[in-house]
Amino acid sequence: MAQHSVLFEDHAEPVTVRAGTLLVEAARRAGIEIRQPCGGQGRCGRCAVRVVGGRVRRRSILRLSEEDVAAGYALACQAVVEEDVSVVVPPADQIERRLSTDHVAPEVTVPRGYAREQSQTVERALLRLAPPSMDDQTDDWARLRTALRIQNGIDHLRASLEQIRALGGILRASEWQVGLTYDTAGEPTGSARLIAIGPGAAIAADPLVGLAIDIGTTTVTVLLADLDSGEVLSRAATYNEQITRGEDVISRIIYASSGDGSDELKGLVLETINRLIATVCSKAGIGPGAVVKATVGGNSTMMHLLMGIAAESIRLEPFITSINAPPLLTAREIGFTMCPDGTVDLLPGVASYMGADITAGVLASGLRSSEETTLFIDIGTNGEMVLGSSQWLVSCACSAGPAFEGSGVVHGMRADRGAIEEVWIDGRSFEPTLRVIGEGRPRGICGSGLISLVAEMFITGILDKGGHIDETLDTPRIRRGSHGVEYVVARRDEAADGKDVSITAVDIDNLLRAKAAVYAGFNVLADRVGVDLASVDRVLIGGAFGKYINVEKAVDIGLLPDLAWDRFDFLGNTSVKGAYLSLLDRAAREEVADIASSMTYIELSADNSFYEAFTSAMFLPHTDLSRFPSVEASVT
């Protein structure tokens, strides 16, 4: 048998091995231990090394992209030595980073070719008025409007009583040189609504800024944008204060419908938003009074609670909102701490469970700018999904339950410090390797960790296709606990709180229900328009959950359709991006309105094919295994 030499860089002496030896084995001989969390089955990608001289035969390139392979990367547990080679073993953290870069959402960027004059509805005018005299008896308001008409072509200007009250004083104090900020959004051509008026010089010096806000059920995000340049000046995000009154929209609605609940929730979200406004303004060195506009995305329940509108009908059949497309409001009406007559634009939604977070998300995703059939999804407690292209849009929403948010499972937690976010299980010893947020000891399992864990348990045979734990396997990690059969992910001596972290049969059933509901949603959507899920060109994943999810594992359990990895893209918080684009550009704002009005919404609880699709998805990965060819290949 031929012998070949393998040189590991940083090691002076090459080792000599027989042809056919795996790189991990060669490394072991050289005294280098390469981590293999999946037990050397070529599934986890953690043993990636770079071959810099010679070539190896790759038995599997799972988890490596074409570029990786071109750059010489190979999985050490799957790379067969067939000639002399030299190999670089990258530090473990470097591999982690390379594997997780696809999870990081791109920052918001200014739309190409943004020009305020063409795109922005908020405008400013510096007016010099002729002072009144005994010969010129025109009133202050008419004087202002006439000057504006002559100088800026605005024939009709609307103002609030508060503004009219202050008008005379401002005009005289500024010696008839005033600056005006007004918004033409929602007004007929040649008309505008007055936002602010002040002494000419002062107004002209202020930057023109606006806010893009996403009110998530869990997190609220605020961006402060310069409306002149389009640049984001600062950003901030924090938990929605309402979370202490219920974690999901349903419990918020229930809370709001009793006693002062509605006022209380409105107050809590306003507190959250106003605190964030103060933060972004102080970061940018701008007074909140200079903020002239806010554009807001969020689900229909969040919008109703913000407006103080009863949301009970969202929860109850036939699931009707009070309003999908709110009129333009002012900060004074809604309660934002910014310029009181600044415009507050609550973006339009489609239905109770298809809100402005999704219409804004569809805008931000660019789904409509392509002929390709695209699936846009946002998974949380509710899974919202939109299928379409430039020509058409259909959508539906399903209740996924709290499993993906890390609650509703015995040791579930939010994606926070101490949460297990990824798991690999050795297929022979059934011992897990964990990645924990913050790198400390594990406290619990978050949604992405749960998906990863269940996928690994399934691939290694701990779970059968029905999701039942195989109690006959020889490992102390499978045992009967107080919640029935369970798999111990971290023993108490491995965990942070000295308590076992385990996943129970009930947890697994909850996750199965959640994933089945989501996949059944895809299924119904695709069937309704006669599209084969396998022929979907792109899958765009929005929302915080999507930022951390591992596509391979989500496909393994049948949560996401089995498509080539390069068809998936993670977009991060598309709701705030959509709000930002709508804030800057009137055309984008019109497109959101068009998205909302042209999207066909399917109410799944009224769809008789949903239950069938759901029960067939209540299996790992699916009752119809031919829908998941890549999983079929790895389990048989």
Partner: protein
């Protein structure tokens, strides 16, 4: 005028499954029962002559049943106190095979155990030469203990062991694999659930020709339409080529029909309901015949008269022209 009857040309067919083994085949049965093999929907003789007749099983219990109708107890008389005698009576009544239900208690009130389960099985095998289906008492752990013991003690008989359910199938399937038996799996009236259990069972390595499925049905007037529809959809999927639905179907019109008020109650009902004994057996018969028309390969009955009636109906369904 000649009318050409259009014929379907299906891709798939129902698996052919043989129950029981003769001494030459390693068992002790005087005859075996073969079911399945259909390549068309039920009784479409112009498309295919049915390769095997649907068969009639009679259900017996290891100890005298405490909750059976007096109509049934009267019909079987003293035979009911001994599974061997009862099985013999069933054979005389015209059954094609026997279903032995193991209970939680023995005749003397003691808790049943694996030994008593084996005793009842052996007694049944001694009392009849017909193939046998043995079902546990319906509690996962006991089912497993009893069925393992029975499977070991009857190696080679090609018994059908059950019930496999999605949360409890491994032990029963493993026991069947180790001892040359078959299994029956039951799922609650849903095409997908039936298919899923079949996948789980075959994933363990048990060949498809050793599995029978029970999709659960309701009695006439008590949900039979739903059960009928599930069976029909399973059969259509099978004929369309879906391997995980190509299993022969076993259903329990006896157990279902004898749960109904019409079969159970003899007093305080309108006179127009007719004679109790006849009404009860008719209820069972009509339920069974409807399910046979839906595609049942094995119908499990309880009353001896029903066997005759269902067999008469079957003869007519099997007759060409």
């Amino acid at each position: 005028m000649q009318i050409e009857i259009p014929k379907d040309n299906w891709q798939g067919s129902v698996n052919t499954v043989t129950l029981g083994a003769t001494p030459e085949e390693g068992g002790t049965r005087t005859r075996t029962v073969t079911i399945g093999g259909q390549q068309t929907l039920p009784f479409l003789h112009f498309e295919q002559t049915p390769p095997n007749r649907p068969v009639i099983a009679l259900e017996i219990t290891a100890a005298r049943p405490g909750d059976w109708s007096p109509v049934l107890l009267d019909a079987w008389g003293d035979a009911i106190d001994d599974p061997g005698n009862w099985a013999g009576a069933c054979e005389s009544a015209g059954a094609d095979l026997i279903v032995l239900s193991l209970g939680l208690t023995e005749a003397d009130g003691r808790s049943a155990d694996p030994e008593s389960a084996v005793r009842a099985t052996k007694s049944t095998l001694g009392g009849t030469g017909l193939p046998l289906i043995v079902l546990g008492p319906g509690q996962a752990e006991l089912d497993n203990d009893f069925v393992i013991a029975v499977a070991d003690a009857t190696k080679g008989e090609r018994l059908v062991l059950g019930l496999c359910e999605d949360s409890n199938y491994r032990t029963i399937v493993a026991a069947a694999m180790a001892n040359d038996h078959l299994v029956v799996g039951r799922t609650p009236m849903d095409v997908n659930l039936a298919k899923q259990l079949n996948i789980l069972i075959t994933d363990m390595g048990l060949p498809l020709d050793r599995i029978v499925m029970d999709p659960t049905t309701g009695a006439l007037g008590y949900g039979i339409e739903y059960g009928y529809s599930v069976m029909e959809r399973l059969r259509i999927a099978a004929l369309q080529g879906d391997a995980m639905t190509q299993l022969p179907l076993l259903v329990n019109p006896g157990a279902e029909a004898w749960k109904t008020k019409e079969a159970k109650v003899g007093e305080g009902v309108p006179d127009s309901w007719g004679k109790w004994e006849e009404r009860a057996s008719n209820w069972e018969t009509v339920t069974a015949v409807a399910l046979i028309e839906a595609g049942a390969d094995i119908v499990v009955l309880r009353h001896p008269d029903s066997v005759t009636r269902v067999r008469n109906a079957l003869d007519e369904l099997m007759a060409v022209g």
